[in-house]
């Protein structure tokens, strides 16, 4: 018994205090509030409080037509805006049975994967900022600017693209985009090796992440966590493989997963995913078919048949599913947005039991949350 253990307060007078890791905090990447019941440096109970950026997306969906809701889809999770628009557009196409020309499908895959890489780069910069390293943010954002230039050339926006339409994409991809994408893939691969050498193999990062906050596959399933969180716990669940949509079955790519389930596993999954996305983009650009980018017979006023339709995509944070209930009018009756960040965060209370505060911040960063994605 070392003297420091003897000095600890006796049982009855043990006091915990409540700390607000509140809405305005650099570690929460937005306005998430964590009510932490702390005992010294250890977390007794962490209760996430959400709703500080609730923007009524589902209420807006109920009084706008399908086309008017498109801009909203890229503001739910603005870091992977393409995949979110892809889900909404896919759901409407699935219900209205619209044929999307193959060239549009390929363009959707290319832009979605570029968007996934840019989202992972923002996560890399912000996560290492949480762990104390400032420089990787500058490198990651520098690479990300190259992707944003490519996407801006085609869609005109940097963050909230509204590029997909029901039945295709709104304008075609020019030669500069395909050449630029090839150059970007060639440029990015050595950069990923540099990140591996500089950041992944850094002993301080390994000390902060290896073995911290392990999450079992069973916990992920119980809470419905998906994306890099469940792939970090050993389950190779990827919506692009499980429920093949768009042109993804035509490309071969692995689904990286690591069995440990700790923060390092989730980190490695995202780093590996960037390399896989580069592979997909390379294949898609090489086999980009010619032809129209917009389906021909798209009705002016879109009315979905009565009933439910669901469409799931693999967003950067996990499984994003749009569930539309329509009653044969041009305005949807109810639109449910199943967002990955909500399920990924719901396991935080259980996973952060007994962690030290800095490890809880490392766990929070490894879940890669976008708070408007939770609050919708």
């Amino acid at each position: 018994m070392s003297p420091s253990e003897v000095i600890a307060a006796p049982e009855g007078q043990r006091e915990t205090f409540v700390l607000n890791l509140g809405p305005q905090h650099p570690a929460t990447h937005g306005v998430l509030r964590l009510k932490l019941t702390m005992d010294g440096e250890f977390i007794v109970r962490a209760e996430p409080v959400c709703g500080y950026i609730h923007r009524m997306h589902e209420k807006m969906a109920e009084n706008r037509s399908y086309a008017q809701f498109l801009p909203n889809t890229s503001r739910i999770d603005y870091l992977s805006a393409m995949t979110y628009t892809h889900a909404f557009v896919g759901a409407v196409e699935r219900a209205a049975k619209l044929e999307v020309p193959p060239r549009a499908e390929f363009i959707r895959v290319i832009t979605s994967e570029l968007n996934r890489i840019s989202s992972h780069l923002v996560w890399l910069g912000a996560y290492l900022l949480d762990l104390g390293g400032f420089t990787p943010l500058l490198y990651a954002f520098d690479d990300r600017e190259k992707i944003l230039d490519l996407l801006e050339g085609v869609t005109g926006a940097r963050l909230t693209y509204c590029y997909y339409r029901f039945g295709g994409v709104c304008n075609d991809v020019d030669e500069a985009f395909t050449r630029g994408t090839k150059e970007f893939v060639a440029y990015m691969r050595p950069r990923l090796d540099m990140y591996r050498a500089l950041v992944t193999d850094n002993i301080i990062l390994r000390k902060r992440l290896v073995g911290i906050a392990p999450i079992s596959a069973e916990t992920c399933r119980k809470y419905g966590a998906t994306g890099p969180v469940i792939r970090g716990s050993g389950v190779a669940y990827d919506v692009r493989r499980r429920e093949p949509y768009s042109a993804y079955p035509l490309f071969d790519f692995e689904v990286p997963n690591f069995p440990e389930g700790d923060c390092m596993a989730r980190y490695l999954v995202r780093m590996e995913e960037m390399a896989q996305s580069l592979r997909i983009i390379e294949q898609a650009v090489d086999r980009l078919p010619e032809g129209p980018v917009m389906a021909t017979a798209v009705p002016r006023v879109l009315k979905l048949p009565a009933g439910d339709v669901a469409y799931a995509v693999e967003a950067a944070r996990g499984r994003f599913m749009v569930h539309i209930v329509s009653d044969n009018k041009e305005i949807p009756y109810r639109v449910k947005l199943r967002t990955p960040s909500l399920s990924n965060l719901s396991l935080f209370e259980e996973a952060s039991q007994g962690l030290v505060l800095p490890d809880a911040v490392a766990l929070l960063g490894s879940l890669d949350l976008v708070i408007p994605d939770i609050d919708r």
């Binding site: 205090f17 890791l21 509140g22 809405p23 005992d39 039991q353």
Partner: protein, 134 residues
């Protein structure tokens, strides 16, 4: 009172006043030059900073002993540096190996605090309380 004694006295008073001035000077300057009030929208200026939220509960509770031990190790080395300052003043008069050896011995003995604290597990931040384990 011969003048030597007066000279020293003046020197000490000047030194004391200078110290006092350094201590109280900023208060005066701030009072004069800083803005008197800040604009309010919910007059919460005095509230503790807790990410924009109302702090819950009180901070005056029994903390675990590890914080105290961490502070103790810091104080030990603060005092260590305190003694090194006068040495630094006279260190380069006529350099002798003896001064260097004395210095190393002095710092060596004081750094035994680190060895003791490390062995006692202060730096591992072990959980010293009996709160419900995870």
């Amino acid at each position: 009172m011969d003048d030597l004694f007066a000279g020293d006295l003046i020197y000490i008073c000047a030194f004391g006043l200078g110290g006092l001035g350094f201590a109280l000077g900023p208060f005066v300057v701030v009072h004069l030059l800083a803005a008197r009030r800040t604009r309010q929208s919910a007059n919460k200026t005095g509230q503790f900073i807790e990410c924009g939220m109302e702090p819950i509960g009180d901070a005056w509770i029994r903390y675990s002993a590890v914080y105290y031990l961490y502070a103790l190790v810091f104080v030990a080395f603060a005092v260590d540096v305190l003694y090194l300052i006068p040495v630094a003043l006279v260190y380069n008069r006529e350099f002798g190996i003896r001064d260097f050896v004395e210095l190393v011995i002095f710092v060596g003995i004081l750094s035994l605090v680190i060895v003791y604290a490390w062995k006692k597990g202060v730096f591992e931040w072990k959980r010293k309380s009996s709160a419900p384990k995870s």
